[in-house]
Structures are given as C-alpha cells and as structure tokens.
C-alpha cells in the first residue's frame, strides 16, 4: 500500500490571513524563529500497491479540478511509502 500526498498552498501573491495570524502568535509564545508563516492543506490518498503513472496523472487531474483552485492555489503531488 502506498500513500499519494497532495499539498496545496495559496499562491505567494494571495494574502494568507490565517498564516499571518499563526505567524503573529508564535513570538507571543516565545518562538522567535519565524520570518513568515503560510498555511496550506494536505491530502493523503491511500491506494493499493504502488502507484502507476496513470494513477498519478489522475491524481494530478483531480488536484487541478477539485482539491486545489488554480486561480488562487498551487499544488504538488508526491508519493509516500
């Protein structure tokens, strides 16, 4: 069994109020390392066996159609064992 992971992030030019709020909360807790924070989404898709090139192409298509909105977001597709 393998896991296909789709990571979705807002495009850099799109304002991310949630990431900004998290970035502002960190130093209040003593965590002073962050220059900036962006918040995204992660989808973990389990499949039987190793993913085929065709399955990965389908996941790309699904990410572009539903999981991400290409107007405001970018995504990456990866595989985890």
């Amino acid at each position: 069994m393998a896991k296909i992971v789709v990571d979705v992030m807002l495009k850099p030019e799109i304002l991310d109020p949630q990431g900004t709020a998290v970035g502002a909360a960190l130093p209040r807790l003593g965590f002073t390392f962050a220059k900036s924070v962006r918040q995204g989404k992660r989808f973990e898709i389990e499949i039987d066996g190793e993913p085929t090139a065709e399955q990965l192409a389908q996941v790309e298509k699904a990410a572009e159609t539903l999981l991400a909105n290409p107007v405001i977001e970018t995504f990456t597709v990866g595989v985890e064992k």
């Binding site: 807002l10 799109i14 304002l15 109020p17 949630q18 909105n69 107007v71 405001i72």
Partner: protein, 223 residues
Amino acid sequence: MKVGVVTFPGTLDDRDAARAVRFAGGQAISLWHGDADLHGVDAVILPGGFSYGDYLRCGAISRFAPVMQSIIKRANEGMPLLGICNGFQVLCEAHLLPGALTRNHELHFLCRDQKISIENTTSAWTTAYSQGQEIVIPLKNGEGSFQCDDQTLAVLEKEGRIIARYVGENPNGSRNLIAGITNERGNVVGLMPHPEHAIDTLTGPTADGLGFFTSLLHSMVGK
C-alpha cells in the same frame, strides 16, 4: 416569470431569496441540488449559506452538483444567474466568474449593514439602479475577500464589469473594494452582500436590495 432558487445542503438564504423574487412580482421555483432539471425557469439565484459546510473551499463541492451542470450550460447560453455570498463563491469555483473569494483579511466573520455603490447598471440584475447610487444592504461572510490576478482586475475595471464596490473602509480585503462582478455578457452576477435581506423595511435595514430582483423582471419583460 419563473426564477429558480437553488437549495444545496447547508444553504441558508433560499427562503429570503424566494421571498424577494415574489416581492418583485416573479414566481419563485425551488430547485434541489441533486436534480438536474431546471423546471422551466427563466433565471436562477444561488443563495447564501454554507453549502456542503464550506468543506474544502467555499463552493468547491457545490459547483459539481447535478443542478449546477444544467445551470452552467444555461448561463453560458445567456440565462440570468445571480449568486449571492456563497452563491458568488460557487460561481467563481464554477469559472462562470473570474477570481476567487478568500478569508476576510482580519479573519473575523462580518455581519453588518454595509454601504455599497452600484457601478454597473447594465447587467441583467442592476438596471433598476443609477450609476454610482449608494445603497445599504447586509453583509455577512467569513470568506468575502475578492482576489484575482492583476491582469484580470484590469480587464474587469476596463470593461465596466465591477457591479458594486464597498463604500468607506474595506470590510474584508477585497481588491479594489469589489463587492460584486459580472461576466462579459452581463447575465451572470456575483455579489457578496445580501440584497434579498433588504427588500422591505419591516424585515431589513432598507428596501434598497429589491432593485436587483425588479431589474431581472424588467430585463426579461423587454425580451
């Protein structure tokens, strides 16, 4: 004149939208998200709410509902279509309108009476207003910040496709104070504030919103 009002799971404002249609002199027809049949309607309203719990992104799942496939087809043929709040989000997700609605810049859910100015009086839904007319209708949303790339924004401005702008302080971070936009043809309008909650002073802050619904009826009678 039959105006369809769509109910998705999680829609809240379908009853007020139907009431606004009747108030303006039209016949409101309830459309169910799972039924692709539009029951002979002449126009459609996608009302506000939290369809599919706003899961994934607001409007992202609703946009694939069976009823939406028929609506998208008819809208591309010129049928008047108004999306209010969550309905606006659905229209952007369905690519009937450009851009996207994102989280309000200060993260708070807003609920207040909002002054907007009407900037386009030629769309199917705004002929009852005069250019630059300022009206007050409720604004209530968590993800109402209109975003698009610079090129899209320039096209919207140049072609006069901004339907309305917020007056005063920017409530949610929308680019160029955009409260509503239309498509090239002017039949599809997306609006973040709620005209259907302001059709008479008994139940709303003003009756300023009624013009969206009377505009539709007038534009249809003229055809």
